[in-house]
């Protein structure tokens, strides 16, 4: 039986689209791009941090720079018009991918999930929040939303509340019911935890928010790349995600917002591109989404973002999810064979495609250094969920995260590399 027949996606064909997966590592890192002295095959298991970029996406960006690079919305000349059409269509394409029926008017391109979060926090939060109001988050929130709302709350006098995470790494929904009350103006929750792998009931949380007249903001940084997402099914008022975790380039992310809410919000950044008319005394704003995209936008990245969405749709997001779940369960089972490995979050058959863990008596940073020496790229640290790690009682953890090109054999290599660390520290 051929290997790819045992996967929900054609792993061999997909791997051929990602030249970086063929490279070796281990040489001098002070000369990026020169790989002469690298000798260790790469096993890339850090996809929750960033995914790799297939040739189809790189080609789309190259085509843009070779063929129609120009500034958008300014020139009447041919190149500018082509660039504008491509950049605008990219918004529609990304909107379609997440089920936003309003198209481009409901999708603002940002730098990343963090900026999407800050956009709403500044453009909506500063105006609408005040003493007596509350923002409800979860204990498993990424710093992108946790720190942002925490600081906006400090500025406005609002209160932040955190829905408890239980011992299995799931949200305590009874606690959520207690916390979400008439004071709540925003419920900002992570869809798939980047540390626990928990898939949260965001639709239910959005309903709870709406019952008290609050908005629901879903952090989809780990969900949009890994599963079918329909923002209208969830009934999210805002939804944020990044391009670089889903085969797209860095430097671009998106904020989905319901059209009527975005229309009422004031701009977050001022400047060129976002204005309709300007006098020395006052200015008026462009239509959605451009009023939130001040300055020359990430045009090449927008084109690449749309190409990434095309790439994933060709594979099929149901298949992507099935592959993620297969590898997560396999990794959970393999790592679970060892008594000296502690894993965090729900069981293997009920999680997103990542596993965070600690090897007893080996610090996460030592473990990741030793894995790195064997070519295995994982992440060690607090994964931008420092308060959650405090709650788990560990300073750091090691996280393996999977994507469409990973295989069971790579999980086996991770397990073997951990064994090397175990021997070294024995």
């Amino acid at each position: 039986m051929r290997v790819q027949e045992s996967y929900p996606v054609d792993v061999d064909a997909i791997r051929a689209d990602f030249p970086i997966l063929q490279r070796k590592v281990g040489g001098d890192i002070s000369t990026p791009g020169e790989h002469d002295d690298d000798d260790t095959p790469l096993v890339y298991l850090d996809n929750a941090a960033t995914s790799h970029t297939p040739e189809q996406v790189v080609d789309a960006i190259v085509d843009y720079y070779h063929g129609y690079n120009s500034n958008v919305h300014r020139g009447i000349h041919h190149l500018s018009q082509e660039a504008s059409v491509a950049y605008e269509n990219a918004h529609d394409r990304v909107a379609e991918f997440i089920g936003a029926s309003g198209g481009r008017e409901e999708v603002v391109f940002t730098k990343n999930t963090t900026e999407s979060m800050n956009l709403v926090a500044y453009a909506w939060g500063l105006d609408e929040l005040g003493p007596g109001d509350s923002v409800v988050m979860t204990e498993m929130e990424h710093h992108a939303s946790l720190v942002t709302w925490q600081q906006i709350a400090k500025k406005t006098g609002a209160e932040v509340r955190y829905i408890r995470v239980d011992d299995d790494g799931r949200l305590d929904m009874e606690h959520a019911k207690e916390l979400i009350d008439d004071s709540t103006k925003m419920v900002s929750v992570v869809h798939v935890s980047n540390t626990l792998g928990t898939v949260n009931p965001v639709s239910e949380l959005a309903d709870m928010a709406h019952e008290v007249g609050a908005y629901a903001f879903v952090d989809g940084a780990q969900s949009v790349p890994t599963r079918p997402v329909d923002v209208e099914d969830i009934d999210a008022d805002f939804f944020a995600f990044s391009g670089h975790k889903m085969c797209g380039p860095t430097g671009i992310g998106a904020l989905y917002g319901k059209r009527d809410i975005l229309e009422e919000m004031q701009p977050y950044l001022y400047g060129g591109e976002m204005i309709r008319s300007v006098t020395y005394e006052d200015s008026t704003w462009e239509d959605l989404p451009w009023k939130f995209e001040a300055g020359t936008p990430p045009i090449a990245q927008g084109v690449g973002f749309a190409a990434a969405v095309d790439y994933l749709d060709d594979i099929g997001m149901e298949n992507v999810q099935a592959h993620e779940e297969l590898l997560a369960e396999y990794a959970y089972d393999r790592l679970g064979e060892f008594d000296d490995i502690e894993m965090y979050g729900p069981p293997g058959d009920d999680r997103g495609g990542l596993v965070a863990f600690n090897l007893d008596s080996v610090h996460a940073h030592d473990l990741s250094s030793i894995l790195n020496e064997q070519g295995v790229a994982i992440r060690a640290g607090d994964h931008c969920t420092q308060p959650l790690h405090d709650k788990l009682g560990v300073a750091a953890s090691t996280r393996a995260s999977f994507y469409i090109y990973n295989t069971r054999e790579e999980v086996d290599k991770l397990v073997d590399a951990i064994d090397t660390a175990r021997e070294l520290f024995a």
Binding site: I29, T40, H143, V362, H363, A364, H365, D366, S369, I370, N372, E373, Q374, A380, G381, D382, H383, C384, Q386, V394, A395, A396, T420, E423, L424, F425
Partner: protein, 142 residues
């Protein structure tokens, strides 16, 4: 590559598993604590000076964290006795990597230099040059 490791050579592992001068001094001239907040490495250094008030006589460390931070502290407790406070103040990152005898990857440098930083800050506080509660190394790993 088997059990061999570039960064975790025998000397590092030996100091990590069998730390030298681990514990507390009975009557240190000064003591100071520091941490890498993002890693969770913590180190307390006790330093006892000779009667001249300048020469380091004994050093002990306690704390916990990764092998690099703890081995570095252990080796420093052997290196420092006999040197002066001004020599301690001049120790830089190169001196530490030389002492460790291995190439430390850029992301791990702050682990390697924590003990030195703690000793240096402790000495500065002792001399009245600075006033801080605790040493915290810069940088986040995420």
């Amino acid at each position: 590559m088997g059990i061999g490791s570039d960064m975790y050579r025998q000397q590092i592992m030996d100091h990590y598993k069998n730390p030298r001068n681990h514990g507390r001094l009975e009557s240190p001239t000064f003591t100071h604590t520091g941490e890498n907040p993002s890693c969770g490495d913590t180190i307390t250094m006790d330093v006892q000076l000779a009667d001249d008030g300048e020469t380091i006589e004994r050093v002990a460390f306690s704390g916990d964290g990764c092998a690099i931070s703890q081995a570095s502290a252990s080796m420093l407790t052997q290196r420092l006795p006999g040197t002066t406070l001004s020599e301690l103040a001049e120790m830089d990152t190169d001196d530490i990597t030389e002492m460790l005898g291995v190439d430390i990857s850029p992301m791990r440098i702050k682990c390697a230099v924590l003990a030195r930083q703690v000793a240096q800050d402790g000495a500065k506080i002792h001399d009245g040059e600075i006033e801080i509660e605790q040493t915290k190394t810069e940088g986040d790993d995420d």
